[in-house]
Symmetry: C2
């Protein structure tokens, strides 16, 4: 088994690999629109046929929605699972596309060649980086270096309603040593990365009631408690002057990142000025004495996502409203317990209610943070493999949002996931004129060949 | 001139007076609905005819909207103006009325006889109390005790668009020693009152912008400034812990009420528990160490009438919004200067803005408080006259809301207005099944006879 030979084959096979991707991109597998149900099925069939040609035992598996594609190939340790999704986002607004989203083509740009079309980056181009790496490996060596289970979903862009039930029903078959997920990006479009920290999410909605009905502020203004004032005071008190969240015991289970990780993050030279400048901001507004990357990856947050109460239409109405509401979410890290935080948050709100006010709460989901076991030598091996392929050293990074599938591997299958992807910030996923850089595709395939080599070494 | 004879005549003429009111109530003079334009005209004609029969020189005066009715009668001092409005509110929802709103009738209730129909209390029944008092006076004495100008409007329920221009154009004709307005109520449905303090109103709308577009709270939560948080902090800081408003110089020009007035208000035995209990509240929420009546009549307020920002629909969206807005109004008293307060409020908000946030303001009207010159002996004379008619001693009271017409008499004509009315809290004005108590009508007519006597004495 020679890695160099596999990499050479990847280079020489790139035009054919690109043609295969273009072929898959021509299938309009929009999962959220029932009109494209047959197309989703066709994309699943395409994957079954392509991987069968590599020697995989693979098939479509029915679900109440679009089918899963599950298959196995190879022998030996470790046993890896690869996850990707074959469905794509809708294409509206169509008039903002420069060409038919499902008539993909290669385009030359001043930043290099790109593959233009819906799904090029999210996620067909990315999932094919892994498939093409397997293809090159088999072509060169007659077989893969380890056992691989493929697991493709067709509902990722429409909320994955069948995913959890399917994983639970097929847990034995899907349990592997490690899961590989290719649906993320390079850090700042440049640095290869393994996402190892995912923030959890707690959603809360609260409605504060003062008077039993809307009042006239001329009649009752000054004597009746205004629930907007109460709600504002509660929200204003959720952070102290240093940006810390004031809910009792909120920081229980929030770890400090290790010096090694801190050094890696410092090495990323994150362009926080550019990141904020893109959205019209100039200064990080989080906790004092925390770096920008800590603020978005390793520190918990409390954000008001919506607020409403009283008259919000045009003009003016001198109403003193009966109710005021807000939607508030918390991003969680480390070992923070979402249910305990919910309880403490609600108690803190109740403790601040003045006489005559009541509060109703409605919970909107509560998921803990995800933290991969980077102590597992496989992580360091994969990180080294990525560093070998790209100009920059690969890093373990965090992700401010949540990627539910990674959590499901952990909670349902007990498997850690390596989130490795090659997307760039300007890929315009979910938007018109989606593209995937040829560099992402080519070096992505080469990256997976190196990772396979490293994990099987 | 014998007042007793006039009062006796009022008593014996009550059935005929009631018939005249029922006649006027049958005219559906809904000013806001163009379909009833001819009916508004008809109501104006009705008043012209009725007052002409008393000997007044009176006529309809055209405006761009519904006509004014202006006329004069009598001689001697003082010269009084009486204002009322002949238009009524719409009747929707019609299915909540127990009978045709414009087929009025007398009904017996367990609290006495009532006149049921649209406009019975607001304002046809009230304005006829004055007309009937004049009629009895003339019938008994051959003439009125002083000169009276009648001024009836037909657009009060649709924003009075023609009022100010008409008053300005006819200022000389409308200038009198004092204006009488019959469009208010008894205090707590029981105590006769002259409303001498009207709060002013300043409306402000503000929008705070943080990021230049809505952000994903997973991506930017913790590092980007959330404008809802900023707005909440600003609102929370508008009152201190004692309920006082914190805008610099806000209390400049806020007078303490006199001991005499304080004694009157204490004597009203205001049922603040009932007032608040009706709307599900139990405790006054205004400034500490102020009585409930001070809170709603003689103290300035700051109320948030509306707030909105971010996602306010069903479910949850982890948006970190670009903008957050609020509508805030201030009730003003005494000599508070609305424009100065606007300026100080805006500066205070700007001073609290963190880096990266901007604010836009939109003003929604600014009117100073109104305060009648109760030092004028006419006020004490009228108060005594009302006290003579009713079981309770009459009081000077405040009004938390604003009654623009009273301000116009002052600012356009330089005339103080006496707001005297006999409505009760349960008259259901603007609502289905509006009524006017026969007690209000009967004692209202008698009250005006006494006031005419007292002012002319």
């Amino acid at each position: 088994m020679s890695l160099d030979a596999v990499l050479s084959r990847i280079d020489s096979d790139l035009p054919a690999a690109t043609d295969r991707l273009l072929d898959l991109l021509r299938i309009p597998s929009i999962s959220t629109d029932p009109e494209f149900k047959a197309d989703c099925d066709r994309a699943a069939d395409w994957l079954v046929a392509d991987l069968t040609s590599l020697g995989a035992k693979i098939e479509k598996r029915p679900t109440p929605g679009h089918p899963m594609v599950v298959g196995h190939i190879g022998e030996g340790a470790p046993h890896l699972l690869f996850y990707g999704h074959y469905d794509v986002q809708p294409v509206d607004p169509l008039d903002l596309w420069d060409r038919d989203p499902f008539d993909p083509e290669l385009q030359e740009t001043d930043k290099g060649q790109v593959i233009r079309g819906r799904g090029a980056a999210d996620d067909k181009g990315q999932l094919m980086t892994f498939v093409e790496a397997c293809r090159a490996w088999i072509a060169e060596n007659g077989k893969l270096p380890c056992k691989i289970t493929f697991f493709f979903e067709g509902e990722e862009e429409s909320g994955s309603p069948s995913l959890v039930p399917f994983m639970k029903e097929n847990a034995e078959e899907l349990k592997t040593d490690i899961a590989l997920i290719c649906d993320t990006g390079l850090f700042e479009s440049r640095v290869p990365a393994i996402t190892t920290m995912l923030r959890g999410l707690l959603g809360e909605e609260l409605t504060i009631t003062g008077p039993s009905k809307d009042l006239h502020s001329g009649m009752y203004g000054g004597i009746a408690m205004n629930p907007i004032r109460v709600l504002s005071r509660i929200i204003a008190g959720l952070h102290d002057a240093t940006g810390r969240i004031t809910i009792p015991d909120f920081y229980e289970g929030v770890p400090e990142i290790s010096n090694a990780l801190k050094a890696q993050w410092d090495g990323l030279n994150f362009d926080s000025k550019g990141f904020l400048g893109d959205v019209g901001l100039s200064a990080p507004a989080g906790e004092q004495n925390r770096s920008p990357l800590e603020m978005i990856w390793s520190r918990p947050t409390c954000e008001v996502n919506g607020i409403w109460g009283g008259y919000t239409g045009k003009g003016f109405k001198t109403v003193l409203p009966s109710k005021a509401s807000a939607k508030i979410s918390f991003r969680l890290v480390g070992q923070q317990d979402p249910l305990k935080i919910r309880e403490n948050f609600r108690k803190m709100v109740e403790d601040q209610l003045p006489e005559d006010c009541t509060v109703e709460f409605h919970g909107h989901g509560a998921s803990a943070a995800g933290q991969m076991e980077t102590g597992d030598p496989a992580f360091e091996a994969a990180r080294q493999a990525l560093s070998d392929e790209w100009p920059d050293t690969a890093a373990y990074i965090g992700c401010g949002g949540s990627i539910p599938i990674a959590g499901y591997f952990k909670t349902i299958l007990g498997t850690d996931a390596m989130l490795i992807g090659f997307g760039k910030d300007n890929d315009q996923i979910h938007s018109p004129n989606e593209k995937y850089d040829m560099e992402s595709f080519h070096k992505g395939i080469r990256s997976w060949a190196r990772v396979l080599d490293a994990l099987s070494g």
